[in-house]
Every structure is written in C-alpha cells, then in structure tokens.
C-alpha cells in the first residue's frame, strides 16, 4: 500500500527564487525504509518537510495516507501520522527533562494524563532510555539526545518516521546507536522509515535509495544497484562507500566476491573463508 505519494511536485521558497524542487515523483510503500541521499543544497530537507505538511507544493500534489497536504484541514492529522527527527539534537528538544520532552507531542494533542504517562514510559523503554527519565537534555550524549527525539516522535504512534540527517552531528558510536533503534522500529513495528543522509554507509542498510541532485530525483532503486553505478554517483557528487570501492578493487584483481548487498562483517567473513581455502 502506498503511504506517501508525490506527484509532479514543484517548489520554490520565494516567488523570485529559483526552483528548489523540480518535478518530484516519488511513491513510498508502507513499511518500507527509504533513504534519500544527495549533496548539500540538493533539496533533501525541503523534500522532507513536504512529508508532514510543513511545506505544501506550489504545483503538484502530496498525499500522505491518501490525505492531500494542500488541504489545511488535513495538517493536524497528517502531522500525527508523520513524525520527524531533525539534524541538531539541541534545537529540537523542548522539554526541561527527558520525560517532559517525550510528552511534548502528546500534550499538544490533548492526550489524557494517565494515557500520556503510560505512552511516555513505553517510548522511553523502547528507545532504551530507562533511568534517564529525569535527566536534563544538556547532560546527555548526542546519541542519547537523538534517541530522546526519537522517543518523542514514536510516542505519537506515527505511521511514518522521517529522519533528516538525524545522525550527521553524532560520533560513530552515536550514529550506530540511533540507526540500530531506527532499524528496530522498521523491522519490529513495521514503521515506514525515511532517512535523509549524506552518509552512504547508512543508505546501504535501507530497502531503497533515492538520489537527489539540484532539486530533482536522478536515481531511485536498490542501494546495491545505485552504489555501484559510478556515473550516477559522480553526477550526484557522492563518494562511493569504502566497502564498495574495496569490493570493486578486489574483483578487479580476480578475487571472487559479488557486489550484492554486503555488509562489513559479511565481507570480512567472506575474505576469511577465501583465505582458508587458499
């Protein structure tokens, strides 16, 4: 079932500006994990803001669960279905403590107290933040802060989770931590996940990858297929992830490895096996 549909979407910030989004056509299925990649200024964040009606197209149409974002009356409902986590953890935590922040969205839509307490606790547990309920945000690590933002997002029981470079300000441990929880949400709760990133290592993990350049979509398909397409990557000014470069270099030298969807561990394992055989 398609949960987000964008049809011929055009957008510019001010009437005098140039187009920031050009003829965007994108369909996202329920339960899918789609990553959107592209260089700085290619319009990824702008695109993301269309998914929960923070922006509406000047031309074209965006449907979320069949609801058009062009109708202002749908906005409240759409925003409850689509939760967003942004780049800078410090600029999106509103509450003075972890639990207060997780409760923020629930407070906004008037959830009764008892239910709110329960849902806040559930979300905190799901994001592995037990014991930090009363901590002040500025005492947390970057990864923890983003997990607080995630907990706040999922407390609303959204259908779709959009992460706009949510890991780009984190250290490698924090990144992995956040991605692990996101992966869990996608697998265990069948939540539709859209991650925007310019870290291609992260994109490798997703079901589908969308490549943007100057406000247009220039690639859309399996990460393993797109990441081996050198022309496309060059055009999008993206660097092939190290692991792909390595696999390619190895195949050039006649090492029998396929360039399918491969993770670092798998590669290490395969190489070890090959070593033993030799």
């Amino acid at each position: 079932m398609e949960i987000i549909q964008m049809n011929n979407v055009y957008f510019r910030y001010r009437p005098s500006d140039k187009l920031v989004l050009k003829n965007i056509n994108l369909t996202i299925q329920s339960g899918e994990w789609v990553s959107i990649v592209g260089h700085n200024g290619s319009g990824k964040s702008t695109l993301a803001k269309f998914m929960n009606a923070l922006f509406t197209p000047i031309e074209g149409q965006v449907l979320v669960s069949g609801l058009s974002t062009s109708n202002v009356n749908n906005h409240t409902l759409i925003r409850r279905k689509v939760a967003m986590v942004f780049q800078n953890p410090d600029n999106q935590i509103v509450g003075p403590t972890v639990e207060d922040d997780v409760a923020f969205g629930l407070e906004n839509c008037g959830v009764p107290y008892e239910e709110m307490v329960q849902r806040v606790q559930e979300s905190i547990n799901k994001m592995g933040l037990n014991g930090l309920e009363l901590s002040e945000p500025h005492r947390l690590s970057g990864g923890q802060k983003q997990r607080v933002a995630l907990a706040g997002a999922i407390s609303m029981n959204p259908k779709i989770l959009v992460l706009d470079e949510a890991t780009s300000m984190l250290d490698p441990t924090g990144r992995e931590e956040v991605i692990r929880y996101v992966q869990k949400l996608n697998r265990d709760e069948n939540m539709t996940v859209i991650t925007i990133t310019h870290d291609l290592k992260e994109a490798v993990l997703s079901d589908r990858m969308v490549v943007m350049k100057d406000g247009a979509i220039i690639g859309n398909g399996l990460p393993s297929a797109l990441l081996t397409n050198k022309d496309l990557l060059k055009q999008a000014r993206l660097r092939q992830p190290f692991i792909y470069e390595l696999v390619e270099a190895l195949t050039c030298r006649g090492v029998p490895i396929s360039v399918g969807q491969i993770s670092e561990e798998e590669l290490v394992k395969t190489l070890c096996k090959l070593q033993q055989q030799m």
């Binding site: 409850r80 600029n91 999106q92 509103v94 629930l106 839509c109 500025h138 706040g152």
Partner: protein, 269 residues
C-alpha cells in the same frame, strides 16, 4: 558555574518544604512579603522571625547554601543598617565624635530594618532553594490563570519561560565554545584597556546571536512538526498536586497576615 545558572539555587531534597506544592509556596511567600512590610510594629517582625525560623527548620537546607546565595544581599543589608545608624536622630545619643553622633534610635531602627530585610531574603531563598525553576514556572502559570480572562497570555508566558530555562545551558555551552574558538585565533579577553576588552566581546556575541536565530527557527519547525498549536486543548504532563499540608501552610501564613492587619488597625504604625 554552569550548574548554578541552570538549576538556579535548587538544592535537591525531600523535606516538608521541598514536597510542598509550588503554588502553596508562592502564595505563602507573597503573603509574607506583603504583610511583613505593611507595619512597623515589633510584633510583626517577631511573627516574621518565628515563621522564617520554622520554615528554615522544615526545609532542612544547611545554612551555607543560604550564605552562598546571599553574599551580595548581605552588603545591601549592611548598607541599610549603616544608613539608618547615621541618619536617624532619635532618642539619646550613645556615642559621639566631633564628626557624627550615633543615637539609640539609629541602632534600633537600623537593626529593625536589617532584620526585616534578612528575614525577607531568607524566605525568598527558601523558595528557590527548595523548588526547581520548572516547578516554579508551573506554579506561576496556574496562579496566573485568572489573568487570562484579562487577556494576559499566561500559557505563552510560562512556555517562554520554560523554553528559556531549557536553552540557558545550551547557550552557555555555546558561549564557552565560541570563546575558546576566538582565543585560538588570538583574541584576548583578559588584557588591554577596558575599551579593547569590550571590543573583544563583540566577536563572541555576534556568532552567538546568529546561531540563536538559527536555533529559534529550527525549534519552531520542530515544535510545529510535533503538533504544537498553542495552549488551546493541551493537556499537561507535569501535574501539580495540592495536599493537605499545602492548605495548612497557607492557613498559617494567612493567620500571620490577619494578625498583622489587626495590629496595624489596632496599634497605629
């Protein structure tokens, strides 16, 4: 230093006063401040002293925390005392030099005023020492609610205050970072003429300002994405619970107010 700004002077604890509803504490303090200053009768001050010692006892906060927060206030109190000492010309002279004479009235007046101020500040610090700024904000918001009918945006004011509390530590962190960055580029904040030092501060505040606007924009987007649509139809996660002891505390302070009023009407000054 950072901690001090963030939590105000709050000292965590589980005392009677800590567990009081912030609304009750605010009401008590307001009654106390108003009625302590309404009359100059010694009874009023004695009553105030008794209330303060009782509250101090029940708050179970070591004296050093009060002293830490009151260094500046002690100067004000001393100044008040000395002013009264030299300027009051009542009663018999008790000490005289060719330049000035100190009268008995000066000593009692000065002592009276100083005690009154001391009691006031102790009571006020009691509030901030036992209540988190967040709880204080909640308390103020509910107490201000009646003003909403007069068009005062009470929810917005309280929300602004809690956002400010949330961002003060973040901004302080950032200031520290910027200072370090500018130092690394050779900025000098501790030497040179006053003018030069002032000029050195500009490169701190400009990036801080720019960054704050960016933050405000991001925060507004995040809040909108999380369905914030103003105070209408919002529920609250943090509940204030008014217990019996809160009522008792308010009654005690109300009784004090009543006694002061009786003294005032019956006794003149």
């Amino acid at each position: 230093m950072l901690d001090h700004v963030i939590i105000g002077q709050y000292v965590p604890g589980k005392s009677f006063v800590h567990r009081m509803d912030p609304r009750a504490k605010l009401i008590c303090l307001m009654l106390f401040v108003v009625f302590l200053f309404i009359s100059r009768h010694p009874f009023v001050l004695i009553g105030g002293l008794i209330l303060t010692t009782t509250a101090f006892y029940y708050a179970k906060i070591p004296l050093r925390f009060y002293i830490k927060g009151m260094r500046f206030i002690v100067i004000i109190i001393l100044f008040t005392f000395i002013l009264h000492l030299f300027l009051t010309r009542e009663g018999p002279a008790i000490f005289s030099t060719p330049i000035f004479t100190i009268y008995l009235g000066g000593v009692t007046q000065g002592g009276f005023m100083a005690t009154r101020l001391l009691v006031l500040f102790i009571m006020a610090s009691l509030l901030t020492l036992t209540t988190t700024p967040v709880a204080l904000t909640d308390g103020l918001e509910t107490l201000m609610k009646p003003l909403k009918k007069l068009g005062v945006p009470t929810h917005e004011l309280a929300f602004m205050m809690s956002i400010a509390l949330r961002f003060i530590p973040t901004l302080l962190d950032e200031t520290a970072k910027i200072i370090k960055a500018q130092r690394a580029r050779g900025a000098n904040f501790t030497q040179g003429s006053l003018w030069n030092r002032l000029k050195a501060v500009i490169p701190i505040f400009i990036p801080l300002f720019v960054q704050s606007f960016k933050r405000a924009e991001d925060l507004a987007t995040a809040m909108e994405a999380r369905g914030y649509e103003g105070g209408e139809g919002r529920t609250k996660f943090r509940l204030l619970t008014w217990l019996k002891k809160d009522t008792y505390a308010v009654i005690v302070f109300a009784l004090y107010a009543l006694i002061v009023l009786i003294v005032k009407i019956g006794g003149g000054n």
